[in-house]
Amino acid sequence: MGVSIVPTLRVLKPAAMIIVVMALGTVVGFWANAAFLPGTAPKQPIAFSHKMHAGDYQIPCMYCHIEARRSISAGVPSINKCVGCHGIVAKDRPQIRKVLDYWQNKEPIPWIKVHDLPDFVYFPHKRHVLAGVECQICHGPVETMDVVTRTAPLKMGWCLECHKARAVEHGTDCWTCHK
């Protein structure tokens, strides 16, 4: 005649295993989603290749994104900018024809945001550009991308690391970046 908790543990083992497996499963599922469809490279209305423009032809970023240097937002070039060149260049390519169609109908191109910060974030491109922060630090090596992909997490902690590393003045004050 004796007493011990072990027999009971034996009885409970299957149930415990089921729970553990389920937990593991959840982790796996989460990871799988994040890994295989991260949604960081959405399909754009026009397959614009930064690799070709910024990479091969060496067009500087701020030739098209003119505002980056003087405004909060970097600004997406409006079609007349595209047409400025493509009115002459490579007019026969299917993608370019699409662009020209937009231009004919005077419709804007509905680009999808790849690097999208929440509305409560105050991120002046101007300050960062003037401070000599490379575009690639946040946007990744765009000049090598055919399809622009978000490489940086764009999370608060990530911003803070940089701000701390560069010892930005009041770089960790909430109201420096929040609004």
Partner: protein
């Protein structure tokens, strides 16, 4: 002491307690069903509505940004005081009459604490971010503000929850063992785990005794600190009539007061519906009654002090706060509180009253209603009469708030009903301790087989 147990044998104790666990009548299921139903309809769904609509679902407004939710929070915290606290004090002072009732008292502590914690969730504007008030490393590299009285609360209450749950568990390990041997099936397995393979050897008893005492010693100051801290949520503000030195003791006393009343209620219920007549006796009600009387007197005294100091200060703010409390919009509530918590308890002077169960039950109800009113008034009256008269306003609880209050009671009842089926709600071995050890010729001289 042993007198009233004369007809009892050790075996009876085991039998009765085990029966209370395994034999479940339809009455129980009905009550449980009702409790759960009320909880869902009055607490859960209204709260969901509030989550979607916003705190605006409640009646709170500009001057009075705190309302019944916070009042209920304090109330439940208060109710939790005396369960464990009382049990600890009595354990250390080694008073025997504790032993039949402390288990359920402690359970009360545990569950009212849980309800209180939920009330915090309900109170918050964005409860889905409540984890930000806990200190854990995060990618935002942010930490809670340890200077805030509210964070004291977070720390204190979590400690208290841990402490009292451990305390009640330790106390019932031997009983789990006893029940383990008398049960079968899933119950058996559960109790095997709960009892950790307790045997009751002299060493185990000794260790348990030591550890239990240490816990008791640690928990008494903890309990006191918890409600002092709750009071500081108010007292550390500079709101007239809240910014008072007396508040901490005031709250602690009030807490123990309502808690003790709560115990009376629970005792009555156990005695009546779990057939523990032979364990919970007039003696307990008598002692609790005395305690209640003492507490009510202290509580009244502090109330008088509050009025006196407020009046004596003579400042416009204090006087207005006082006038508003005594004669303003909420005055009826105030006087109701005085009647229930200061006047009615004077009946306890007579032993006949203390030892008659039903009146005691009603008194305990009255006291707790009064104490809830007190918490409500603390929030409502002072916040609606702050410094700038132009901002004065009126606060009336909304339907959602009221139903959530009712629902929180149902939540408590539900938890308690579950408890009585898992925990031996009367401590087997400590009851035995109060009986004579078996010797030839004593009524205990019988065998179990």
């Amino acid at each position: 002491m042993a007198a009233e147990h004369n007809e009892l044998t050790y075996a009876d104790v085991n039998r009765d307690v085990v029966r209370s666990l395994v034999e479940t009548g339809p009455k129980y299921y009905v009550t449980l069903g009702v409790a759960v139903g009320v909880f869902l309809t009055c607490f859960f769904f209204p709260w969901f509505y509030q989550l979607f609509y916003g705190i605006g679902a409640a009646g709170m407004n500009q001057p009075t940004v705190w309302g019944t939710y916070l009042a209920s929070f304090i109330f439940w915290i208060g109710l939790s005081h005396s369960g464990t606290l009382l049990s600890c004090v009595l354990h250390i002072t080694n008073s025997a009459w504790r032993k039949a009732m402390y288990r359920s008292a402690e359970a009360m502590t545990l569950f009212s604490l849980m309800v209180a914690a939920t009330m915090v969730m309900v109170h918050l504007g964005r409860p889905w971010f409540i984890h930000w008030s806990l200190p854990y490393p995060n990618q935002m590299e942010l930490w809670p503000n340890f200077r805030s009285p509210l964070l004291f609360d977070v720390m204190a209450i979590s400690t208290y929850l841990a402490g009292s749950s451990i305390f009640i568990y330790m106390g019932s390990i031997p009983d789990f063992a006893a029940v383990r041997d008398r049960t079968s099936g899933w119950r058996h397995h559960m109790y095997v785990l709960l009892s950790l393979g307790w045997r009751g050897t002299d060493t185990e008893w000794h260790r348990l005794g030591r550890a239990y005492t240490f816990l008791a010693v640690l928990i008494i100051p903890l309990a006191v600190s918890v409600h002092s801290i709750v009071s500081w949520d108010f007292a550390l503000s500079i709101v007239p009539a809240l910014h008072q030195t007396i508040f901490a003791p005031y709250f602690v006393v009030g807490a123990i007061y309502s808690g003790t009343a709560g115990i009376v209620t629970v005792m009555f219920m156990l005695r009546k519906y779990m057939n523990f007549e032979r364990y919970i006796t007039e003696l307990h009600f008598d002692n609790l009654g005395k305690l209640l009387l003492l507490l009510s007197l202290i509580w009244t005294y502090i109330n008088v002090l509050e009025i006196f100091t407020g009046w004596y200060s003579g400042t416009s703010t204090e006087l207005e706060a006082l006038r508003y409390k005594l004669f303003g919009f909420y005055a009826p509530l105030y006087w109701e509180m005085i009647l229930f918590c200061a006047v009615a308890p004077l009946l306890l002077i007579s032993r006949r009253f203390r030892t008659s169960f039903v009146p005691m039950l009603f008194l305990s109800f009255a006291i707790n209603i009064g104490m809830y009113t007190e918490r409500f008034l603390i929030v409502a009256t002072s916040l609606s009469r702050k410094y700038l008269p132009d901002t004065w306003g009126l606060y009336v609880p909304s339907l959602v708030e009221i139903s959530i209050l009712i629902g929180s009671v149902a939540m408590f009842v539900t938890l308690f009903l579950v408890f009585v089926k898992i925990f031996p709600s009367v401590s087997i071995y400590e009851v035995k301790e109060t009986m004579d050890v078996p010797r030839k010729g004593t009524p205990q001289w019988q065998t179990t087989r």
